[in-house]
Symmetry: C2
């Protein structure tokens, strides 16, 4: 496990939410769990660009931060289900607000982002 070398700031609300929501896929994980996709394999299919490994790691962090719970069914083949905790549910409206802003300004965002990516293999469609 990675051990942080720089102590994080936990001064204000923005620092705090950052600590639990940063991570490339965490917001999407929360969202998909919210919309009923509870099993790890479902989540992996929903987010195919993420490696299986990171999703597991980020799910574990979400669990440690008490935003989701993990229920293991003692069957074989194994079955696991994630659910939002009551605490986790309170962050959903915030995520919805993020997504809504992104959707509302989709065209403009796509435009300014693509304009400033130096990369090569963009599919500008």
């Amino acid at each position: 496990m990675y051990e942080r070398k720089i102590t994080p700031n936990l001064n204000c609300g923005l620092d705090l939410i950052g600590e639990v929501l940063y991570g490339k896929w965490k917001i999407r994980l929360l969202w998909f769990i919210h919309t009923g996709h509870k099993r790890p394999s479902e989540l992996q299919r929903k987010i195919p660009d993420a490696s299986r490994r990171v999703l597991n790691i980020q799910l574990k962090e979400l669990e440690e931060h008490e935003l989701v719970t993990r229920k293991i069914y003692p069957v074989v083949p194994p079955k696991v289900e994630y659910s939002l905790t009551e605490f986790g549910k309170t962050v959903i409206p915030v995520i919805a607000a993020l997504g809504q802003w992104g959707d509302e300004h989709e065209e403009r965002l796509r435009d300014v982002i693509l304009k400033h990516i130096v990369g090569s293999d963009l599919d500008i469609s």
Copy 2:
């Protein structure tokens, strides 16, 4: 300048907002500019944990993404002021929602975060 090797996803609103808002200090920069701290040196004093360098870099990215404008006064010593664009202003309510959630759940967040930091030199006060 760093050239990305992995093409970002720009599928949904969450991807898009992530592209412009990710970056350790961007949200705070937008917020402080919003609250009237416009000059680089002010922002650096407001965010002392960030190196001067990153703030410049992230400010430039915010400018490229058209969330802020940079006005240079041709005086000496130099004077520069950042302002939110109309587009940038539309993201402020979203940032406010993030901060508000963090503030509302401050204690619990601090608790679960500190519980799972492996580090050593925490000032748990």
